[in-house]
């Protein structure tokens, strides 16, 4: 029983981390129909910015408790520095092209940004462990878990819930859903679709940067950080259905729990269990668990 409880806690923590990272990816795909590989770069940029800004903050002796706000601010700053530039400077010229071409373009940008990161931060690792330890720990099933993990779970709930509310409960959100369903008709009805694309790309990238920034205190921030997360995020959104918010949530929970179960009970299969789940879901529901309805066009 205790082990099952531990499986559940580990699964939820992993799911929360994955969900924050995958949320922006599914949003960008839902609105812009871009399979955005640069999402991994924004995750890494967020981690580096979070580690750098928070490192300076703590080194100057400012209150450590505010380091959580610094992590948030760092993600916003780094996203604003890169995301609008990429969308306005490169992606907007590509929207007419095939989805595969745009995927390749975002992959090229991902490789370029990897080198940009190395140019800015070098190859040495960055650490900011203080925010991870600051909140203390809680006990479940006789094991200590840093309370910081609860912060990640809370962030996942706030981001997911906030985005769901925004899309269904606000005027701008409803207009965005109109753009998701049919950009051409939305444009004809006077919606500035390009502006929505810019805002969506920036906000989606911000979610990736926030995931990176809040992950930074738990890891060593090193080159290549964005590679693993992009693969896992794709698995989550594909399981849930590309572009679906509830799908991303369910996909993250499914991946988190299945991985946790395998680590505890059958570690030999941990390497492929996530992709096995993805394959099974796609075999039964080729468009994912919560694929968006496609309006029939004449």
């Amino acid at each position: 029983m205790q082990q099952l409880l531990s499986v559940a806690v580990d699964g939820v923590i992993y799911s929360a981390w994955l969900f924050i990272a995958a949320l922006g990816l599914t949003l960008i795909y839902g609105v812009m129909k871009i399979v955005n590989v640069t999402h991994g770069s924004f995750y890494a940029l967020g981690a580096y910015a979070g580690a750098s800004f928070t490192g300076v903050w703590l080194a100057r002796g400012y209150p450590p408790v505010l380091s959580y706000a610094v992590l948030f601010g760092a993600a916003i700053l780094i996203t604003l520095a890169f995301a609008p530039l990429i969308e306005r400077g490169i992606l907007r010229f590509m929207y007419a092209k095939d989805e595969v071409v745009i995927l390749l373009i975002t992959y090229a940008l991902f490789l370029i940004l990897e080198d940009v990161i190395k140019l800015i931060w070098g190859v040495n690792p960055y650490f900011i462990a203080e925010p991870y330890a600051l909140l203390g720990s809680f006990q479940v099933a006789g094991m200590a878990y840093p309370t910081y993990n609860l912060l990640l779970v809370a962030l996942a709930v706030v981001f997911g819930g906030g985005l769901a509310w925004f899309l269904s409960g606000t005027r701008i959100g409803k207009l965005l859903r109109a753009v998701i369903h049919d950009p051409e008709v939305s444009r004809a009805m006077g919606v500035n679709v390009e502006r929505y694309y810019l805002a969506t790309f920036t906000f989606g990238s911000l979610l990736a940067a926030l995931a990176g920034s809040y992950t930074a205190p738990t890891v060593s921030v090193v080159p290549g950080l964005g590679v693993e997360i992009i693969v896992l995020s794709f698995a989550v959104v594909v399981i849930g259905g590309l572009g679906s918010l509830p799908g991303a949530a369910l996909g993250a929970v499914l991946v988190g729990l299945v991985r946790s179960l395998s680590v505890h009970y059958l570690p030999q299969v941990e390497l492929f269990v996530i992709y096995f789940v993805m394959a099974m879901v796609l075999a039964l529901r080729p468009r994912g668990l919560f694929s968006l309805e496609e309006p029939r066009k004449i």
């Binding site: 499986v7 690792p125 094991m143 890891v219 060593s220 290549g224 590679v227 570690p267 941990e270």
Partner: protein, 420 residues
């Protein structure tokens, strides 16, 4: 017109003459990717430091002669990142286009296994400085390929001997290693060695997460739940640091004696965040385990002064690799009457040789004289006045942690570490 012809002839002849006076070494190590920070860049820095020191004639005797036997050393530094196929192509480029005289390099075991037959085919003297797989000389025989660092078998056997000595009455072990050749081989050797040393030992769990997975909460819970007496990990780079950062606050290193076979690289970066009692390895007598010999004082002192950071074990291995080649080059020159030695002559001089480096004595005792053996050491962390120190350090002679010549690592461990 005559002056022009003379000038042209001089321009053609001069670089050729200069090339005869320099020794061009191809240095291959990770300059990008995840292995750059812990291994590649510290090794490149070590190569640049040692080459500059040798060219200036500032190294301690018997390495005091300038360059290699009086010829200045020139380097061509290459990034090891990329696929194995890329590395083989780049190796050919180094040999056939850049015309390097010899090559020192390679961190990845996969790259070493792929490069060895190509070096042999191109008849190019190649010294592997860091890669750990014992298979290179256990499964093959080479004339032009050498490795002046010990194999990963030494790390695992040394770790097993250490925990048996340091923790009485071990009943169970567990592991967390990366799911690829290095992690699997390291755990395989450690598990095997433990079963030989403590036949009743129980393996509680063996976690094999994906390389660079980054998030280890579930694995740490599984290890905590298993409650093994000893945990073994050969994690490196960000994975190693993430394990320490995530496992430390959860008491992982307090619950079980945790052995980190490459932990020395994290020591310089994480310092006080490594919990007391954690067992750290340095893949040999390097870094904090290096002897107080003049070579170590020259190397570690000079390195720290130049780069404002302490050299880690990859730096030591690179320095040792270049010094080994210098020794062989000059020994070959001595033998052939002071002429520039061929690759074959340098190879013959390094075979079965013994030389001193910043990590102590290196004996080319295995792999028909092509594979080095050294002593190794392990110790436990202890924070003293805010500074991370190593206590309970134990050293194991080369013969105790390396298989004898001709024996395969796994067979040697299974036999109960019997000498031939």
């Amino acid at each position: 017109m005559r002056k022009l012809l003379i000038a042209l002839a001089a321009a053609v002849i001069a670089p050729a003459a200069m090339a005869q006076n320099t020794v061009k070494i191809g240095i291959v190590t990770f300059l990008s990717g995840p292995a750059a920070a812990p291994f590649g860049v510290p090794a490149k820095n070590a190569a640049e430091f040692v080459v500059d020191e040798l060219n200036a004639g500032r190294a301690p005797a018997p390495y005091g002669k300038k360059g290699f036997g009086g010829s200045a050393i020139e380097t061509a530094i290459l990034d090891e990142a990329g696929s194995t196929t890329t590395q083989v192509t780049e190796f050919r480029n180094l040999v056939q286009r850049q015309n390097v005289d010899l090559i020192v390099g390679y961190v990845s075991s996969g790259n070493c296994l792929a490069i060895a037959p190509v070096a042999e085919e191109l008849k190019k003297f190649t010294n592997f400085f860091d890669c750990g797989t014992p298979r290179i000389f256990e499964d093959g025989s080479y004339k032009y390929v050498f490795r002046t660092s010990p194999t990963a078998t030494m790390d695992s056997v040394g770790a097993a001997l250490y925990v048996k000595d340091a923790k009485a009455g071990i009943k169970s072990i567990a592991g967390i290693n990366q799911n690829y050749a290095w992690g699997q081989d390291s755990w395989g050797d450690f598990e095997l060695a433990m079963k030989v040393l403590v036949p009743a030992v129980e393996v509680k769990t063996s976690q094999m997460p994906k390389l660079f997975a980054g998030q280890y909460n579930a694995e740490i819970s599984a290890l905590l739940g298993a409650g093994a007496d000893v945990i073994h990990s050969s994690f490196w780079d960000g994975d190693l640091e993430a394990l320490i950062l995530q496992g430390g606050p959860r008491g992982l290193m307090k619950t079980s004696m945790t052995v980190l076979t490459t932990g020395e690289t994290a020591m310089h970066k994480l310092g006080a965040q490594i919990p007391d009692g954690t067992v750290l390895g340095a893949r040999g007598p390097f870094g904090p385990y290096a002897p107080g010999n003049p070579y170590n004082k020259w190397f570690s002192g000079g390195f720290e002064k130049r780069y404002s950071s302490r050299p880690n074990y990859a730096s030591y291995q690179m320095a040792q690799a270049i010094l080994g080649v210098k020794m062989a080059w000059e020994k070959a020159m001595e033998k052939n009457g002071g002429k520039r030695p061929s690759n074959e002559e340098v190879g013959a001089a390094l075979e079965h040789a013994t030389f001193e480096g910043p990590g102590g004595t290196v004996r080319m005792a295995n792999g028909e004289g092509h594979q080095a053996v050294m002593e190794t050491a392990y110790g436990q962390t202890k924070l003293v006045n805010g500074k991370l120190t190593l206590v309970n350090v134990k050293r194991y002679p080369a013969e105790k942690v390396n298989p004898p010549e001709g024996a395969k690592s796994a067979d040697w461990i299974k036999s109960g570490f019997k000498a031939n």
